[in-house]
């Protein structure tokens, strides 16, 4: 156990650096887990240590990556992998190696052979992933290996292989299920059932290839960690959890993960806003209930009962900057819009670049989970004269045309970076909105250090309404938690 303790502590430290909070007591628990489970089964050890170190759902991906670094499956080359393969001498040799590997990949994909896929990933890294200038970088590259291999091209071959197998042995699957041969319907029906399920085969293979890519990446990180130390690799080569990814930099993959993080947060935000009102409504005594309750204490009303109002779902107005300078942020904005639209009874959504356009119908009529980024790419109805964002004229336009949508029960949420391209900020318009609304909160994707730098007028607006930094999902969570209940 002694040699493992530093590794465990290292893993816990790396997790903390990636924003996964854990305490000393958790590490002690993890050590107890290792003692209880032993080291025979690595996957069980992975699950056990996860149970001790993790506390919420979104942390699993970063944990898995780090676990592979600190508790590697093997040292050096894997068994059955020829490590002495020199890097391919020229492009032609690399291509021929890749073609051979691709063929084996197609076979493994068609057979759902997990073990073969695992060892194939190791071979791909060993044969195609070594960087040529070893002296300077001394490592392996998954990007290079996957570029040459192009695993997605194996899908068609795997499909063909599966089709041949189905045609070659008619009713083969029927034999496998056993005993169904006797009834004519059984053998006749099974192939057509297969044919319907075969509609999913292509999607399943695509998912399997994506999983294979991840295997190659994991294997590459393992080899690199050996060369340069787990500490260093875990700092640079492991993607931070979706929670910590800045909205402005989020790519398509991260957005998909964000979607899963934001939906429950929106639900929480909605219930928090509802709770704000319910508490205020407390205080009125319900005479009937109090009298009935006092029966058990001999007619003495020891525990007065309060009237309960049904939870009020407040109205919400969302005002979102949709300009291209905050493109990454507006992807988050759209996600939040969609999630909030499902939670509020009356929600109105406005987008602007320099004039305001109502987007409520577009968002509400779209099916849940649909990708609206494309629908909003055309911002023609939110611009006038030029394509730059202008908060001043947008706010003025809002107060001129849409101020009646804000009432004393309305919460207003503004999303944007308050960079107004050196035009007049018109703070009075924002003051008008704040005066009418129940509350106004502003979520800004920039850090407070950059507020007021350059063309940002954030400090000016922050004086009028509450402005919160909201650059990633973790900060959105904090904002939701801080809302006074």
């Amino acid at each position: 156990m002694t040699s493992l303790e530093p590794r465990l502590v290292g893993l816990a430290g790396a997790l903390r650096r990636h924003g996964v909070a854990n305490g000393t007591s958790d590490v002690v628990d993890a050590a107890a887990v290792m003692t209880a489970l032993g080291l025979e089964d690595r996957e069980r050890l992975r699950e056990g240590v996860a149970a001790a170190l993790l506390r919420r759902t979104g942390q699993r991906q970063v944990y898995d990556d780090l676990f592979d670094l600190w508790f590697p499956a093997a040292l050096g080359s894997r068994t059955g992998v020829d490590d002495d393969v020199p890097p391919p001498a020229d492009a032609a040799e690399a291509r021929s190696r890749a073609a051979q590997l691709r063929e084996e990949l197609a076979r493994a994909l068609a057979d759902h052979d997990e073990a073969a896929l695992e060892s194939l990933a190791a071979r791909v890294v060993a044969e195609l992933g070594r960087l040529p200038n070893e002296a300077t970088t001394g490592g392996w590259s998954s990007a290079q290996a996957l570029d040459i291999l192009a695993p997605q091209t194996a899908i068609a071959a795997a499909l063909a292989r599966l089709r041949d197998a189905a045609d070659g042995i008619p009713g083969g699957s029927g034999n496998g299920s056993g005993g169904s041969e006797g009834s004519g319907a059984g053998s006749g029906g099974a192939p057509s059932g297969q044919r319907f399920a075969d509609r999913f085969t292509r999607d399943e293979l695509r998912a399997a290839v994506a999983a294979f890519r991840r295997r190659v990446e994991v294997e590459t990180r393992r080899r690199n960690a050996e060369a340069r130390g787990a500490e260093r690799i875990s700092r640079y080569a492991v993607r931070p959890p979706a929670e910590q990814t800045p909205f402005l930099l989020a790519g398509a993959v991260e957005v998909e993960e964000l979607r899963r993080t934001i939906a429950p947060l929106a639900k929480k935000l909605a219930s928090r806003m509802a709770a704000r009102r319910r508490r205020a409504a407390r205080g009125e005594i319900d005479i009937r209930k109090t009298l009935r309750r006092s029966m058990s204490t001999g007619g003495v009303p020891m525990r007065p009962a309060h009237k309960q109002r049904s939870p009020h779902r407040p109205d919400l107005v969302l005002l979102c900057d949709m300009s291209s300078s905050v493109a990454g942020f507006s992807r988050f904005t759209i996600l939040l819009m969609q999630a909030m639209a499902g939670q509020f009874r009356r929600v109105r959504i406005f987008g602007f670049v320099n004039v305001v356009d109502e987007l409520t119908d577009v968002v509400l009529s779209a099916p849940p989970g649909a990708d609206l980024t494309e629908a909003f790419r055309d911002t023609a109805r939110m611009t006038r004269w030029h394509n730059n964002s202008d908060y001043g004229s947008a706010l003025l336009d809002f107060t001129d045309h849409h101020l009646d949508s804000v009432g004393p029960r309305t919460s207003v949420l503004i999303l944007g970076d308050a960079r107004t391209n050196n035009t007049h900020p018109h703070p009075d318009a924002l003051r008008d909105i704040a005066a009418r609304a129940k509350s106004v909160d502003w979520l800004n994707p920039e850090s407070p250090r950059q507020w007021g730098v350059g063309d940002s007028v954030a400090p000016l607006y922050a004086d009028i309404v509450d402005m919160h930094e909201c650059a990633n999902a973790a900060q959105l969570r904090q904002f939701v938690m801080r809302l006074p209940v």
């Binding site: 628990d29 056990g48 506390r55 929480k268």
Partner: protein, 299 residues
């Protein structure tokens, strides 16, 4: 390590399972097919004596796990169903006011042994034990299931902290009651509210996701024995595909089983577009989900 947390040595440290494989076997006998992750964490919760916090999508068997552990170990299941507004009186204990009043009235004719009476009406006889106290006081081994903890208010979590770390309950009039057996505690949450760090820290965390296709096939085959193996495979593949679509509510394991039962009830021997189109409502519960799936599956 658990000794360091202040659990007395003389407490019965009974562990129900010998190994992870033992957990798998015992749970399977109790009708619950566990993935490796579930079996490992259950084993650890039992071995380390820590509560188990289970999260995951609806319908993957979070509550069922607690029931299966109870069946597998022959322990009694005590369940605290949380809801908004559940309080101490519903979760922990309550004094039986009516009975206390009767007792006082019955004594009124005597010459005021007030001191005796005062001690008398705050005894076990007048105490109504609610699930948490019941679990701590139980003479037999118990599995305590605190279901949907996220629905309860934050205050209840504070109440749970003493029970979860020390397995004891303090009733001011009676003193501290310590558990004879350490209960096997399972907390479930659907993450509608963020649970506090203090609570999370005291628990082992388990995220149950949708099972792997192979495991789901075994689960379906176990619950619906009348279904052909090829058909089971098709059903599971269909459900797997549906989960990848962005739906309002993805089909859960229980819905897969319902769907398999539907096929048996209809007497279908294979999965066709017609059967699927007519019965998609068994798998999907929202109209827009059904339309979306029908379009994606080309029905």
């Amino acid at each position: 390590m658990s000794q360091a947390r202040g659990i007395p040595q003389n407490r019965a440290m009974t562990t129900a399972f010998a190994s992870v494989d033992d957990v798998c076997r015992a749970l399977a006998d109790a009708g619950y097919l566990a993935s490796d992750a579930i079996a490992t964490t259950t084993f650890l919760a039992d071995r380390l004596g820590k509560p188990l916090l289970v999260e995951g999508p609806a319908g993957v068997g979070k509550t069922e796990l607690a029931k299966a552990v109870a069946r597998a170990t022959g322990a009694r299941l005590i369940r605290l169903q949380c809801y908004e507004g559940v309080d101490e009186a519903r979760a922990l204990y309550e004094w039986n006011h009516a009975k206390q009043l009767l007792r006082i009235t019955a004594e009124r004719d005597g010459d005021g042994h007030w001191d005796a009476l005062r001690h008398d009406i705050f005894t076990d006889e007048f105490l109504l034990a609610r699930p948490l106290l019941e679990a701590v006081r139980s003479e037999d081994p118990v599995v305590l299931l605190v279901d949907e903890l996220d629905k309860a208010d934050v205050e209840i979590e504070g109440l749970l902290l003493e029970i979860l770390s020390d397995f004891q309950v303090t009733v001011p009039e009676l003193g501290t009651i310590t558990a004879a057996h350490r209960p096997f505690v399972v907390l479930t949450s659907n993450a509608t509210r963020e649970l506090s760090e203090a609570l999370r820290r005291r628990c082992l965390f388990l995220h149950i996701d949708y099972p792997s296709p192979a495991l789901e096939q075994r689960i379906v085959a176990q619950h619906v024995p009348g279904l052909e193996a090829t058909l089971v495979e098709s059903v599971v593949r269909l459900v797997g595909r549906l989960r990848e679509l962005r739906l309002r509510k993805a089909p859960s394991v229980s819905e897969t089983v319902d769907w398999a039962r539907t096929l048996v009830a209809l007497g279908s021997t294979d999965l066709t577009a017609d059967v699927l189109r007519d019965n998609l409502g068994v798998l999907l519960k929202h109209q827009d989900d059904i339309e979306r799936a029908a379009k994606a599956l080309d029905l």
